[in-house]
């Protein structure tokens, strides 16, 4: 893998730091007029998701990380692993719960999602920004309420719980923004 100097650090670049694959978020050049130049870098650890700040002496370099995002279809959960497939090549990958993480509550069989691979092994899973899921459990709403104010919890077929307006009923399919976990609308079947 190539190595990258601090001058080449830009948002999105994947590098190895402390033996973990990381993505550069922000790179700030800091230099006192009469002093040493530094680069103050904001980095996300792709294994843990944690964002840290780290300073480098300008001109230092880091090895690149072989990290790619691949669109895949979620197939099924065998109890231990979740299985994904690249639609074009039928290439299959299995992920443990640690790699799937928070995405698990939005994953429905057959849905598309993004799997991040590090050295060809799944590192993390990102669901589509919007998913459509059926409500499996919610209190009956109050008739006539269409305002959406207040709301009530609703459990979805994947196990996620979101707040929905009072008029939304059990069995209905709704659209949810996975980035915020917020209800968007009902989906007409």
């Amino acid at each position: 893998m190539a190595s990258y100097s601090t001058n080449e650090f830009k948002a999105g670049l994947k590098v190895m730091l402390d033996n973990d694959p990381c993505a550069i978020i922000e790179n700030e050049f800091v230099k006192p007029g009469k002093g040493q130049a530094f680069n103050r870098v904001k980095i996300r650890n792709l294994k843990t998701g944690r964002v840290i700040e780290r300073t480098f002496k300008s001109g230092e370099s880091l090895d690149g990380a072989d990290v790619v995002d691949v669109e895949m279809q979620y197939l099924y959960n065998d109890g231990e692993f979740r299985h994904f497939m690249v639609p074009d090549t039928f290439e299959q990958y299995q992920c443990d719960e640690k790699a799937v993480g928070e995405a698990s509550k939005w994953l429905k069989d057959q849905d598309s999602c993004t799997v991040t691979l590090w050295n060809d092994a799944p590192l993390s899973v990102t669901p589509a920004n919007f998913v459509e899921l059926a409500i499996t459990e919610t209190d009956p709403g109050v008739r006539g309420d269409t305002s959406g104010g207040g709301g009530k919890p609703a459990k979805l077929e994947t196990g996620a719980v979101v707040r929905v307006p009072l008029f939304v009923q059990q069995g209905e399919v709704i659209k949810v923004d996975t980035r915020t976990g917020e209800y968007i609308s009902r989906v007409k079947e």
């Binding site: 001058n7 700030e28 006192p32 007029g33 002093g35 130049a37 300073t55």
Partner: protein, 326 residues
């Protein structure tokens, strides 16, 4: 086609720049400080290991000479002072290789002035006066602040910047979420000061006010004189507004021998670090030998001043053609 042929800044910003230049010239003209011009291109360079210069080839067949673009007009201006120019100022371009970021463009505009007979406190008074004038009509700055480097450093970190304690500095770095400082700085006191000052102190300096920091540690004296009363500090001042470093001033070194020694020391460091070879300015040494009058000098980055005057977020927003459009 991309729109990169267009200027990156607005017409309003160009007007603001013109107004600032006018105000500066008016300010110095009223004080009888002479505007001068010196060459941007020369046969010698600065020797400061922290500043990378640009070089170019001067072709006069069959001869070819290596020329340097100035990193600051300091040396040429001091030669004028030694030749009896009296107090002078200059607005010029300076060039620093490899410097690019939110507050750096490799080519930038500098105001530099020298006042014969001024001590550093007098120069600070004048700097506050000029900055106050330039901000008039844009924003009211709070009263200018003055701190010694040591009191500031101690207030923010409880470390003594004048006495290096490897252990204390390490403990500070670990307790303040910058453990990498330990491996970057090692036993290099000046580097530790750069690291801690630029990361932990500078961003908090001069909130809506001009903040002037004086008595820099002797190991960061650069071209300033060592303080006559305290050999641990130098007669150097740095000025900040809203955490942005705006400029740097010295009670100028007039001792030719000491200047020659610092040049050689810096050239030695450059060799050790395998940096491009610097050519020391013999004319400057000769000028100091002939006699530089006692004086103080200040350099201000005018593009950064414009960032502050216009509330912009980066130097790229105040230049019509920052490097990527140049």
């Amino acid at each position: 086609m991309p729109k990169s042929w267009r200027p990156a800044c607005s017409i309003e910003l160009m007007r603001l720049r013109a107004r600032m230049l006018y105000d500066i010239r008016h300010f110095f003209s009223k004080k009888d400080v002479l505007e001068v011009e010196t060459p941007v291109l020369g046969f010698s360079s600065g020797t400061d290991p922290q500043l990378d210069f640009f070089t170019t080839e001067y072709g006069l067949p069959p001869q070819q000479h290596r020329l340097f673009l100035q990193t600051s007009p300091e040396f040429a201006m001091k030669r004028l002072l030694a030749a009896g120019s009296g107090s002078i100022y200059q607005i010029c371009k300076a060039f620093r290789n490899g410097e690019s970021g939110r507050f750096h463009n490799p080519e930038f505009t500098m105001l530099e002035w020298y006042r014969i007979g001024f001590t550093l406190p007098q120069l600070m008074d004048e700097t506050a006066e000029l900055i106050g004038l330039l901000f008039k009509g844009h924003r009211t700055l709070d009263t200018a602040q003055r701190f010694s480097y040591q009191e500031l450093f101690q207030r923010f970190t409880e470390l003594d910047p004048l006495a290096f304690s490897y252990q204390d500095y390490c403990a500070y770095a670990l307790a303040n979420h910058t453990p990498e400082a330990v491996s970057i700085c090692g036993y290099d006191h000046a580097l530790w000061l750069d690291f801690i000052f630029s990361h932990k102190i500078q961003p908090q300096l001069g909130e809506n006010a001009l903040c002037m920091v004086y008595d820099y540690p002797a190991c960061q004296s650069s071209l300033a004189r060592i303080n006559a009363g305290n050999s641990l500090v130098s007669d150097r001042v740095e000025v900040f507004i809203n955490g942005i470093e705006l400029g740097n001033g010295y009670y100028e070194l007039t001792d030719a021998t000491e200047q020659g020694r610092r040049f050689d020391e810096e050239i030695g460091i450059r060799q050790q670090r395998k940096q491009p070879v610097a050519v020391k300015d013999k004319h400057l040494i000769a000028a100091l030998e002939a006699g530089l009058p006692e004086c103080s000098g200040m350099a201000i980055g005018l593009d950064r001043l414009l960032i502050l005057l216009s509330d912009s977020a980066s130097i790229q927003e105040v230049l019509n053609f920052p490097l990527h459009r140049a």
